[in-house]
């Protein structure tokens, strides 16, 4: 028995070692650095307490990024889940070529966010604008990415295009795990399609919603790659009487702070991102958990 414990520990050791080295230690180091004045190079690091955090909440660009991220997340949660739920209903119906559609909807998820950002930048900046000029449609003639009030929506649309296929798979699995007898019984009892969807399907797959909402929430909150290539934070807009970048989400704000050699400040922002993500995600999961039904 003892020997088994030793073997178990030895097998665990590489994973534990890696986990400690790349997650646990950097996490606490990060917490520490967020309370210093470190610039990333200087070996003399001075402890400054909560100064970095205090200055954050008086900086319009950070407050804006925070609110923009919340808005973007909210739009995404609704858009991605509604679209992917509808897609999953379509591809689990008796429609022809449904396997082809399943694969097709999933493919965008396989394209990396960087590449995808450039592709959509080209579509939104060049193709749509040229189309608008050719058809003399005024609302298309300036790019959606160059208008500060539409850029977050454009980003959400691109994100939905990328992510809906992935969430769709989760919903398909949930729909297929619902016993067919249940649906048949409902049909026999005279329930229409919409009634079946809302009264049986949705309550029965509540656990899938928990997972899907959690995934969309966390990925949108941490969005960086597509943000970076699609909009680079632009265009500018005015917030609290200061010019700020209209589509600079939190992760990109952190990145831009860090690349300006303001490591401690960037770390403080990262801690704020982490804490708010944990809080929001916990609230979401606990609400969703209450709605789940056991079979």
């Amino acid at each position: 028995m003892r020997k088994k414990t030793l073997v178990n520990m030895l097998f665990l050791a590489p994973c534990v070692f890696a986990f400690v080295m790349i997650i646990i230690i950097p996490f606490f180091l990060g917490l520490y650095y967020s309370m210093t004045d470190w610039n990333g190079v200087n070996p003399d690091v001075a402890f400054v307490g909560l100064r970095n955090f205090k200055s954050l909440f008086s900086a319009p660009d950070f407050i804006y990024s925070f609110l923009a991220t919340l808005g973007y997340t909210l739009i995404n949660i609704v858009l991605v889940n509604v679209v992917s739920f509808i897609l999953s209903l379509i591809v689990t119906s008796k429609i022809r070529f449904r396997n082809f559609f399943r694969a097709g909807f999933f493919v965008p998820y396989l394209i990396g966010g960087i590449v995808l950002g450039y592709i959509w930048q080209f579509i939104l900046n060049s193709i749509l604008v040229d189309l608008g000029e050719a058809l003399s449609l005024e609302f298309l003639q300036s790019s959606f990415l160059s208008r500060s009030n539409s850029v977050i929506w454009a980003m959400s649309a691109v994100n939905t295009w990328q992510y809906a296929g992935y969430i769709m798979l989760i919903y398909i699995a949930a729909i297929q795990s619902i016993p067919a007898s249940l649906m048949e019984a409902a049909t026999v009892d005279g329930a229409g399609y919409l009634t079946r969807v809302f009264k049986i399907l949705i309550p029965m797959m509540a656990n899938a919603f928990t997972i899907s909402l959690f995934l969309t929430l966390t990925t949108s909150f941490k969005q960086f790659d597509m943000n970076f290539t699609l909009t680079n934070g632009g265009p500018a807009t005015r917030f609290l009487d200061q010019p700020v970048k209209a589509s600079q989400l939190l992760a990109m704000n952190i990145f831009n702070t860090a690349t300006a050699n303001r490591m401690a400040e960037a770390q403080a922002k990262a801690v704020v991102l982490f804490v708010s993500l944990v809080v929001v995600a916990l609230i979401q999961v606990s609400i969703n958990k209450k709605k789940e039904v056991e079979m």
Binding site: K3, V7, L10, F11, A13, P14, N39, G40, V41, N42, P43, D61, N125, V129, S142, S143, L145, S146, T231, N232, G233, G234, P235, A236, T237, R238, Q242, P243, V244, K245, N256, T257, T259, A260, N261, R262
Partner: protein, 426 residues
Amino acid sequence: MKKVVSTLAVAGLVLALLMTASCAKKEAPKPQDVSVNMFQLKVEIKDALDGYAAAYSAAHPGVTVKVETLGGGGDYGGALKAKSQAGQMPDIFQIEGMGHYEVWKDYIADLSGEPWVKDTDLALKVDGKVVGFPVAIEGYGLAYNADILAKAGIDPASLTTRAAYEKAFKTLDAKKKELGISAPVSMAASVAGGMWWVAGQHNLACYWGGGLAFDDTSVIRKALQGEMDEPRFTQYAKYVQLLFKYADRNILLNGSYDDQVGAFAQGKTAFLHQGNWVDPNLKQLGVTFKIGYAPHAFLDTEEKGLYLFAPSWYVVNSKSPNAQAAKAFLAAMATTPEGHDYMVNKAGMIPAFKSVTLKPSGQLSQELMAANARGGNYGVFFGMLPDGAGQNVFAPVYDLFAQNPANLSQFIADMKKAIAGLPGMK
């Protein structure tokens, strides 16, 4: 059976540990051989520099120069930080101004005693000490397409005041169809296109140094204290307004570098707001028309100079045991015919050293070299700003002004506020 497997696994793990441990011990360098590691960020000169380093190593037995390049889209600063954290700080690395000097000063050696110091005006100096070897001269004015200007009846030599520019832009704008251009100016200022630096660094440099003596930093020094010279800035703001008003809207608000340079190269605009680094791009795009530089004349009074600067400097790692060999390598680059040949003919740069007699091939580079010989040029000081000021503070201000160039007073107010915030960024 289980036992055998587990013993084997344990043995395997132990073996792996031992192997990594033994690997780490190998490769003790021979004491007499010196290896100089250089880490640089100009991707466009990578091949030329690799070749020069190899030739230098071959000519100097016992010295091996290894060049590593990371730049373009790569995060040079981040990589350098990683190297310093890992204890693999290169012997020669590259910095882009005082902001970076402040970050890296513990690693930067004093180069005051080097033989090339007297041969250049563009060495990086801190408190009277020379610390940086100027990589090249770069510079800019407002590049013009001489053919289009001739057709429109505009003499480029007359473009020395803001009023002259306004007249020229108006003429070009009125004759757009006839000249086949989409707008008079190809200017970029967008955050989205990643072009904030054209406006927020290079154009703003006119306000910092335009019309002053080459090394007069009084305006930017005042700004670093949070003060703006309002009468001067108002004249500058009117010039920016002029550029934005007569620029191609799509390029201004959304365009990338390729869009901006491409429009000028295809003859769709008469002016281009870019430096001599576009020479290779223009060549690639098959430009045959004659190009020259007109000054960024933003003042009410006449200005004739171009903006010249060293965009980056090589510095020597003061903590490296190979510092002497690194210094010798840089000295050879500046003082030997092989070094000159590398800088001008192979790398296509304009060397910052007066003793160099070779001529670059690009039209704009030749213009700059002529301007450098003529004198009366202006310094470029944005490198003195705190890190991130251009990208995070000035960029959105210019982007917003580009969206609505009519609102001059708002732009001035925004910039005043941005400058007032500079002391807090240290």
